[in-house]
Amino acid sequence: MGNWLVDHWLSVLILVAWLGLNIFLFVYAFLIYEKADKYFYTREILGTALAFARASALCLNCNSMLILIPVCRNLLSFLRGTCSFCNHTLRKPLDHNLTFHKLVAYMICVFTAIHIIAHLFNFEHYSRSQQAMDGSLASVLSSLSRHEKESNSWLNPIQSPNMTVIYATFTSIAGLTGVILTIALILMVTSAVEFIRRNYFELFWYTHHLFIIYIICLALHGMGGIVRAQTEDSMGESHPYNCSKSFHEWDKYVSSCRRPHFEGHPPESWKWILAPIALYIFERILRFYRSQQRVVITKVVMHPSNVLELQMRKRGFSMEVGQYIFVNCPSVSLLEWHPFTLTSAPEEDFFSIHIRSAGDWTENLIRAFEHQHSPMPRIQVDGPFGTVSEDVFQFEVAVLVGAGIGVTPFASILKSIWYKFQRADHKLKTQKAGHAALNFDKATDILTGLKQKTSFGRPMWDNEFSTIATAYPKSVVGVFLCGPQTLAKSLSKCCHRYSSLDPRKVQFYFNKEIF
């Protein structure tokens, strides 16, 4: 636990700050709407549901602003690049951008639920007070009609006792945009669950573009000015403290109280989301621009087990070990971009990826390259983007575990270590690199061509770890995994078990990467 906290303190801090921000905004807005005098008459009809609705609305605005930022991968790459003097712990949160995106999305769902439930109560209360014949303050307020000369005096958007709440909802901008954007949100969430995302990625990707509808409807949502507060002038003239009890005598010569006047708020959501939208549009333009740069395919290799290797060159392309690129093939699919780890080392004069057949897009891509007589499909590349594997050179002893296609990041690392060794690069701290590739019965690794000790079957991690701990009792060992979650759990446990409590003795640091 201590080791984990040392590695992840910045992520924990960001999370705590974000939760704190949400709590603060919620309480702040809640207190305003629950206590402020200008909402006195509004509260008379609506009660506390008004405060809940507005507080959740403020949090929704804030989270809708935050949700677009983690998906601007070029922006994040830029931040990582300018921050290269920071140690890897400070840059780690940038790797968890998608996790943050999902957390913010869950928060949006929670606040949407609160917001909708509160507004259901609000509409019901407006409807009831319009139909009430009991002469209460609420019913008097509701009878302030918008069609009279002073068009500002209305409070209740439901103007006639015959108007149903459904009619009121679908004929108001707020109601209509609210329903549309909620449906868009629900469709985005149901198509983004892990099961659908892993197995039917295209469905997730295309459905997720409904966020455009969400953003547009959110910007329009507040335009109707349906949440009303008493105007300043009206408060100066007839403050609710003085006049609320004598509502039977408003506007009569005898009393000094006039009927209150109300005004709606101007919409605020656009102020929150304008900057992230601009950033995101810039990000998409940048992706497009980068993708238009020519990629020359220098070599295509079909490996057995349906693995395609592409070696490419692109002007101005420079990479670090373990980074990945997004690849698009217009002849397979115009709009889809898929990530692949770079398997070449930075020292080589080309960059390469290995693609395994794992779904529609990859299968079609492999098939497109298999036709030797038709012209080579064009490839577009965006990237490179960085991941955890860059840190592997900082450890004296590195243990790299790759399962299946998960060996790809380590291919790049091993090749690079080998080049650095050959060129006697002094910045290389790594003295020993052990590679456990969970492939079966091969004498040579197809990716690197390095000969290695061949073992068969699953390694017994306890044995491996205790051997390493005995062989390097004073070293810091970095354990890097690219593979399935179950393997991550057992390796992570072994790291904790075999790390010595004494910080001068052997320490295992665990890093994992899962696409």
Partner: protein, 189 residues
């Protein structure tokens, strides 16, 4: 998008709709909104839909991740045979269930979502998809040491594993035309 099984998404959407119907129904009933009895209906319909949609069907290709504890509902849903297997029936059923909830604002979101789920099920049915129950397999837990096998007895080149049947193992094939830029010497450790 050729390999998409629409029924899988319809299933997620219907499950979500069920939960939304239950929530809207509870709000309407607890708040005693106008015509709140539609809310009570909505709760009942939502519970029924959640129970029906909870067991995930089996994917056509590859392994399917079961929902936690779904095997109990799978045995119940299986009993209805063609009524639950056929997606046309589900599409019509969901459409009919969604209509009464459309009379109440609190549950109209559930109606919209369920109607969308019904449309996706219709699409799935047109494409010939069917609900196949996930049968429990007898679980064998191999000892970690037990996966260490004998080295292969035949010399290389050995055919890749697709030729030999190994269903639960991921691999890349043997050999490969990779050329080393600098010759590699073999170190026997």
């Amino acid at each position: 998008m050729g390999q998409i099984e629409w029924a899988m998404w319809a299933n997620e959407q219907a499950l979500a709709s069920g939960l939304i119907l239950i929530t809207g129904g509870i709000v309407a009933t607890a708040g005693r909104f106008t015509q709140w009895y539609f809310g009570t209906y909505s709760i009942a319909a939502g519970v029924f839909i959640c129970l029906l949609e909870y067991p995930r069907g089996k994917r056509k290709k590859g392994s399917t991740m079961e929902r936690c504890g779904q095997k109990y509902m799978t045995s119940v849903v299986k009993l209805f045979g063609p009524l639950t297997r056929n997606y046309y029936v589900r599409a019509v059923l969901h459409l009919l269930l969604s209509v009464p909830a459309g009379f109440l604002l609190a549950t109209i979101l559930g109606t919209a979502c369920l109607a969308i789920a019904s449309t996706i099920y219709l699409l799935a049915a047109i494409r010939g998809e069917q609900w196949i129950p996930i049968e429990p397999k007898p679980k064998e837990r191999p000892q970690v040491g037990g996966t260490i096998k004998q080295p292969p007895t035949n010399p290389p080149p050995r055919p890749p594993a697709e030729v030999r049947k190994k269903p639960s193992v991921e691999e890349e094939g043997a050999g490969g035309p990779q050329v080393n830029p600098i010759p590699v010497t073999d170190e026997v450790v």
